[in-house]
Amino acid sequence: MSAEFRIQVASDIVPAVSGEPLPPPMVETRGLDAWYGDFQALRKVDFSAPKGRVTAIIGPSGCGKSTLVRALNRMNDLVPGYRTSGEIVLDGSAAPADPAGVIGLRRHMGMLFQRPNPFPMSVFDNVAYGLRLERRFKKSELAEPVERALTRAGLWEEVKDRLGRSGLGLSGGQQQRLCLARSLAVEPEVILMDEPTSALDPIATLKVEELMREFRDEVTIIIVTHNMQQAARVSDVTAFMMMGAGRAGELVESNSTVELFNQPKDRRTEDYITGRFG
């Protein structure tokens, strides 16, 4: 067997961390069930996202991907009839279940949505927003963390001369990176992303993907995506979900991204990723 052929194949699909053992989980669910009224949206989901790595959640529409992500930072708590059972574990400890714990929880978990949602305020105030929730700052104290967050989100050079202007005036891609900067400003341990690039053009998408790779090691990222190529490009671990009996979302298989896209263990995963499903 000519060795160079095999090595070439492997290096083409191997993301940065393949082969290294994965760090311990930052976010875990154990036997997580979720209901909207009588409808069970998640059934016995054991999900795990390793610390400082990118974990992608893929699966057909309606399989519970968004519900899982929203369960993690309790976005669904106010949805009438919504309830969960099972455990959510953050960095080894049970996540707070009481309503008062939500603010603290979200301090550790930022979120990026499908459509960028900058607040109707200046670029600067958008980024400073989370910091101001913690305590009163003088404007001069905020300049440095705001600049740092915008730099990390790859936006500083583009907005440094228009910090006072409305965030809504930016392009779609810039708005999404502004939202990313807003999340990063409070230095969260985890950023959840629910289809973060589906409303963006390919160039803006690539910028966001590049940023995700840059944050590796510092932030744990969990991304829901319909785009399997995106999951393959950006993630270290991929989890595949699909609807089980009664249309409840189940986690079928979770593995290193290279393994999952090369040798899926479950036939259903293989059918889905090779486009032969449904």
Binding site: M1, R6, M243, E270, T274, F277
Partner: protein, 223 residues
């Protein structure tokens, strides 16, 4: 929920079938080229040797076609998992078969060079090596059609037998060369022929490894 049991990617699958058929066609051409090159040598048939040399461009053209199709499938269909391995596996097989074709051309060239010389003083059983190698190629093509990895592993394991025949033949030829210096030039040429046949058999082992990779996703060192 059970996955639906029907294929959904007709364009991808049509392309995959096309690539597989091209590779099988290359395999058949190589099989014939081994027979013809050996017969040209044994029968001192210059015309047949010329036909093997001239026919190699068809094998090369098929390889180029395989490359073109594989590239287009990767660009347009973004295959993953088994689909990707299938394309990469056949792509590599086409390279191996193209090189096998080159080995046959080498043998045919030697057949042409030796056609004016008298035969060696004693018989050298070249046809048995040639037949064994051609059988390896043919069996491997059948294993490929049947997607039978156990058979592929067996075929790779039989490469030892080819090696034994090859070494024995080289020993025999060396003896003839030691015994009579007029045998040195044709003897050297025949050793080159056996080496080319032995290399073809090695590449059959590579094809077996490709089939195992294609079917299982694992890289196995066979032979």
């Amino acid at each position: 929920m059970e996955p639906l049991a029907h294929p959904h990617r007709p364009s991808l699958e049509t392309e995959q079938r096309r690539v597989r058929d091209l590779v099988l066609e290359m395999g058949e051409m190589v099989d014939i080229a081994i027979h013809h090159a050996t017969r040209a040598l044994v029968d001192r048939d210059v015309e047949l040797a010329g036909a093997v040399i001239a026919g190699d461009h068809v094998v090369n053209a098929r390889q180029a076609e395989v490359h073109e199709h594989c590239l287009s499938v990767i660009l347009t269909q973004a295959p993953v998992a088994r689909d990707l391995r299938e394309i990469l596996g056949f792509l590599h097989m086409s390279d191996e078969l193209e090189r096998m074709g080159d080995h046959c051309v080498n043998i045919a060239r030697i057949a042409r060079n030796l056609s004016d010389l008298p035969p060696l003083g004693a018989p050298v059983d070249l046809p048995i090596l040639s037949r064994t190698v051609a059988a390896q190629v043919r069996d491997m093509l059948n294993a490929l059609v049947a997607r039978d990895i156990d058979r592929a592993r067996e075929i790779a394991a039989r490469d030892d037998r080819v090696d034994r025949i090859y070494h024995r033949m080289v020993d025999d030829i060396l003896q003839l060369m030691v015994g009579d210096s007029r045998n040195v030039y044709p003897g050297t040429q025949l050793i080159l022929v056996s080496m080319n046949l032995e290399r073809i058999a090695d590449r059959v082992t590579n094809l077996a490894e490709d089939l195992v990779f294609l079917e299982t996703g694992s890289v196995e060192e066979l032979g």
